[in-house]
Amino acid sequence: MTLRARNVGWSRGGHLVLDGVTIEPRRGETIGLLGPNGSGKSSLLRVLSGIAGPDSGRVLLDDTDITTLPRRQVARRVAMVDQHSDTEVDIAVLDVVRLGRIPHRGLFGGDDYADRGAVDRALDHTAMAPMANRLWHTLSGGERQRAQIARALAQEPDELLLDEPTNHLDIQHQLEILSLVAELPLTSYIALHDLNLAAMFCDRVLVLERGRVVADGTPAKVITTDMVEQVYSVRAGVTIDPATGYPTVTYRPRSVSPVPT
């Protein structure tokens, strides 16, 4: 009952964007995908979602190659929240969330009762129920992100893929969205830029560099001064926050030498 990548390689436009990526998640884990821009986080999510087929290796959903499964069957199990979700359609939040029921629908409509239950639960879970009738273009960035997550939850997936869900959000909403996702009983893959957020909310982090996995493990094990220096080419200090036990990253300018004492 998991979504796994086995030695996945993928090229786009002559560039190798994924190179031998293997992930074996445990059920219910929240997995953070870290790495600088262009390291392959989004590409990995695309391949995991089954939208794109890898050139080598396989993505397995319950031991079946995801590219051999019907798209609809995949969409009932794997939901994806994209980085740039926008529309010019004057669509209400309720209708956005209802989109999540499309994979569960037959040619002549679906199970209305199940649809309604899933949509209402998704709205409640994301605290979007009071905004169900608001139109898309009146929503703030955070509300749009929550509406998309509600849509993904309405798909009733076992696996959730999120591509930088905290982009353009203020701190409060970043924390809100991530704690919402981390508490869900789903296996989630989240592409993240913020190392401190990854440390707080992920059970496990995976660091990508030029399409390769260079580190994989618990945040405390992976997020280190050396890793930040090597992967991001940034000098940093990593300390363990005594209040929470999470690693905390502080960045340092290149030229600064230690303050003499």
């Binding site: 009932r76 209708d95 273009h137």
Partner: protein, 351 residues
């Protein structure tokens, strides 16, 4: 489970039955519009005469009416009004499909050059006399529609996609095919033929007969039914192709199917009534305003709104300067351009 969720569920049931009633109301309004419009015209016919002809033709007992009056009602007014309804319905349907599928509020068969392409195909058949009869005219129009559509989409994709690129590609396509049409007409047709073709190019229902009504009606109805089976898939395109794919929609198949239907319906309508502009662009927005963006509601509503609109536009076109007739495309453009401007302004206000 808050009470919020419960209220949401109740309104949903209500609005569904409300939609059924509204659609039924729309059908009644359409039928009534047709019934009123066929009594209007330059010929001196009383309302009683008109209905006597209709009832007689439908097999009921009715008062005797002269053959000329019978001809005016049954061979001219009725097929023309019905073709107007079918054209309005079909073009509005095509516009709604293209707007949803291409995520572009300005898309319609006319703006994207499909109507122009269909005209070129039809003119090529008509003027050069390739093949014979209505079927080859429609086939020519279909070939033209598909070629122009493919060209415009290729050009748009090559330019990087996006709302404005698709429209610009459509402008280029429209110009190209208009020029080709003019070239064909001027180089091969005689003066009489030219006048006829030009009138038809502006969009005209004056040549309507029962064969047109049957062919276009059947194609439009089939198109509507096909699109309705895909209405959920069409909703999935709200946030783009990738989002649709991640909702389990076979993006390529749905696009090919629905754009094919659009090209076919447009071709049939253009070969019967010429290139009528702006109906497909404006009326889906009116329908969306009434019932929201969900395609299972939007498509039937658009079709009804389009049909009712065109029935009245055609009545206007043939009575305002009676007995001289204004091409119906001229009237739709006069109404459509200001509406187009309103849509542009609305787009500006949404960030």
């Amino acid at each position: 489970m808050g009470t919020g969720a419960l209220t949401v569920a109740t309104t949903r049931v209500d609005s569904r039955s409300l939609l059924g009633v509204s659609l039924l109301g729309g059908v009644v309004v359409l039928a009534a519009s047709i019934a009123v419009v066929i009594t209007i015209g330059p010929a001196n016919l009383s309302v009683g005469d008109v209905y006597a002809v209709v009832f007689e033709r439908l097999g009921f007992e009715a008062a005797e009416v002269s053959r000329i009056k019978d001809g005016i009602v049954w061979e001219l007014r009725l097929p023309r009004t019905l073709l107007a309804a079918v054209c309005g319905a079909g073009l509005a349907l095509c516009g709604a499909i293209m707007q949803s599928l291409l995520r572009n509020p300005l898309a319609d068969p006319f703006v994207l050059g499909i109507s122009s392409g269909a005209s070129t195909g039809a003119v090529l058949v008509a003027v050069l006399g390739l093949g014979a009869g209505a079927i080859s005219l429609s086939a020519g129009a279909f070939a033209g529609a598909v070629i122009s559509f493919a060209l415009v989409m290729l050009l748009a994709a090559g330019a990087g996609g996006g709302t404005s690129r698709v429209i610009l590609a459509g402008v280029a396509g429209t110009q190209l095919f208009s020029a080709l049409t003019s070239f064909i007409v001027i180089s091969s047709a005689d003066a009489e033929q030219t006048r006829g073709v030009l009138f038809w190019l502006l969009g005209s229902l004056s040549g309507a007969d029962w064969a047109d009504v049957t062919v276009c009606g059947a194609i439009t109805l089939t198109g509507l039914l096909v699109c309705l089976t895909q209405s959920a898939a069409l909703d999935a395109f709200t946030f783009g192709n990738t989002a649709a794919a991640s909702l389990g929609v076979s993006v390529r198949w749905v696009r090919v199917l629905l754009l094919g239907v659009t090209a076919l319906v447009t071709a049939a309508l253009v070969s019967a009534a010429g290139a009528i502009g702006f109906v497909g662009l404006v009326l889906p927005h009116a329908a969306r305003f009434l019932v929201g963006p969900r395609n299972s509601r939007l498509l039937p509503t658009t079709v009804l709104v389009g049909a009712i609109f065109m029935v009245w536009v055609d009545a206007l076109a043939r009575t305002v300067f009676a007995p001289q007739e204004v091409p119906v495309g001229v009237v739709t453009a006069l109404i459509g351009v200001p509406a187009f401007a309103v849509i542009l302004f609305r787009m500006r206000s949404t960030p």
